[in-house]
Amino acid sequence: MTILNLKIKILSRKEVTPNIYLLSLAAPAIAQQALPGQFLHIKCSKDNYPLLRRPISIHRVNPQKGEIQILFQVAGEGTKLLAERPVGDDLDIIGPLGNSFKLYPESKKVMLIGGGIGVAALLALGEEAIRQGKEVQVLIGALNKELVLAEEIFSDLGAKVEVATNDGSYRYKGLVTELLEKILEEEALATGLPHQIFACGPRPLLKKVSEIAFQKNIDSQVSMEERMGCGIGACLGCVCKIKGEDQNNNNNGLPPPPYIYKRVCIDGPIFRGNEVVWDDQ
């Protein structure tokens, strides 16, 4: 894996639903090596405001055509500028960054759970799982019908897709984690539980998915998010709490807390659900 700093061309841009954009980018060197769950660190502006890059998940990879796609929601100044960049413009990116989702060879059946824009980070994984001949079930959560992402794409790939909307405007009414619990009850009786669960979305969703998976004794992997600086492991800005023995002897004589800070950018963004410390923040 080589981390590259490149200028890559925007081939197309589409507002798939209000405030959510799909960009296709010409990036053979990224497409050749990108793994499911990795991200790009993108300079959205051409000057110093906003100053920092934005970490954006790689949505889809096409190594044959040398193209990648990103799907992102406009959430602030950086993503707003990114959405306004015209087709043909060059984007300054660093990537591919981060570790990746790990599909185990013995997992015959896997489940992907995406909340809101979190769905964006799961498509490449779904494609890979199907390519490997696994049974793939996808649970998509959204506030309402209009904001349901990638349902058709997943279906076309051959995944079994379920949808939950908070307002009930489409399919299951409620949280996608409630739908998850319901489906796991049913599956347990029918065809058996999935062997792995993967999730990306808001922190409460990841926490709940991890808890449910832990109770059912299913391996879970979640994509974490934190405000990020360099993206390459140098600045230590994007850490999250991970269970582990801290070798820190400098705790004023008190026993060390049972967690360490790991970098989302380089140790993550994918962590096992049961190794994350899901507390306060």
């Binding site: 100053l51 360099c230 820190n248």
Partner: protein
């Protein structure tokens, strides 16, 4: 001057010969290795490593950084591997490069600083350690840090003790969070500092209006980036007029012209900091830019620029 005759970018700081005046600011360049996919470490004037303490530190809870207009606040809290892991795991890698390595040191107590300095001097014959940068200005830890740097007599005492404890060159990093930086700079010089580096970050905060919560878990953080450049220039200029030891200037250097401005107001070398987080090649681009500037302006030696401001 003939244009194909390359200008001389070399400068000397604290007895260390630098092939060019561009360093990487502590905390923004990790332990150097993180940047090797993007640049040749041999091309840098010097590498200043992430601040180290005697024992490993876990650092502050997240969120640790937040972007602000043309800048950012950070409150990392000196998370680091501790000096023994630095010696064992980080420094050997840097041996293969022909670039001076400067180690930024921090401590809660005077004794910790001294023990750190002694330990690093002990291993310095075998490992790449050219100088120590004494961090007396970290705004993000509860004890030590900034407390030294805001008081002239505390600064004098600490630097003086370190001066007696080690023969390694000492670069004292000053904080801008003071009423009169000249007094602190003078104290450091009198205590035996070989050079000064300034500025560390400016203490600030950011608030999320919707939740009415601070953006940083630490509440306050250190401001860096283009937003602080005018403050940094002014402080370098003030200190330049006050001391005789060389100054490493920093604060919001994003491009070549920023670096040259710092030299004009008195910095003999400069450090690129926050820019590394945005553009991992920033330091190299600035070095190339300085060379181009010297050629275009027919300046033979970069040191001619130092303190050349006309008033």
């Amino acid at each position: 001057m003939i244009n194909n005759n390359k200008p001389n970018l070399a400068v000397e700081i604290a007895g260390i010969k630098l092939k060019n005046p561009v360093l990487t600011a502590s905390g923004t360049f990790g332990y150097g290795q993180e940047f090797t996919p993007f640049l040749d470490l041999n091309k840098l004037g010097a590498i200043v490593l992430k601040g180290i303490t005697l024992k490993p530190r876990r650092g502050n809870p997240p969120p640790r950084i937040i972007e602000t207009p043309s800048g950012m606040l950070n409150a990392i809290g000196l998370q680091n591997v501790g000096v023994e892991a630095l010696i064992r795991e980080k420094l050997p890698y840097l041996q293969r490069f022909n670039t001076p390595v400067i180690i930024n040191i921090s401590g809660d107590t005077r004794e910790e600083y001294i023990e750190l300095a002694r330990r690093l001097e002990e291993v310095s014959p075998e490992l790449p350690i050219s100088a120590l940068e004494v961090n007396i200005s970290c705004p993000n830890v509860q004890k030590g840090g900034l407390a030294w740097g805001i008081d002239a007599s505390a600064t004098y005492e600490l630097v003086n003790c370190l001066r007696k404890a080690t023969t390694l060159p000492l670069i004292v990093k000053l904080t801008p969070n003071v009423t009169n930086i000249k007094i602190i700079a003078q104290a450091a010089e009198e205590a035996g500092a070989d050079a000064l580096s300034l500025i560390n970050t400016l203490v600030g905060m950011a608030v999320d209006l919707d939740s009415r919560k601070p953006e940083l878990a630490n509440i306050s953080g250190g401001l860096s980036g283009p937003a602080v450049k005018p403050v940094a220039l002014w402080m370098v200029w003030q200190v330049f007029q006050e001391v005789h030891i060389p100054i490493i200037g920093m604060g919001g250097i994003m491009k070549t012209r920023d670096a040259l401005e710092f030299m004009v107001v008195g910095a003999r070398a400069v450090s690129v900091g926050t820019a590394n987080l945005v553009n991992p090649r920033a330091a190299i681009e600035i070095i190339e830019g300085i060379e181009k500037y010297l050629i275009e302006n027919q300046i033979r030696e970069v040191k001619e620029l130092v303190g050349s401001m006309k008033i």
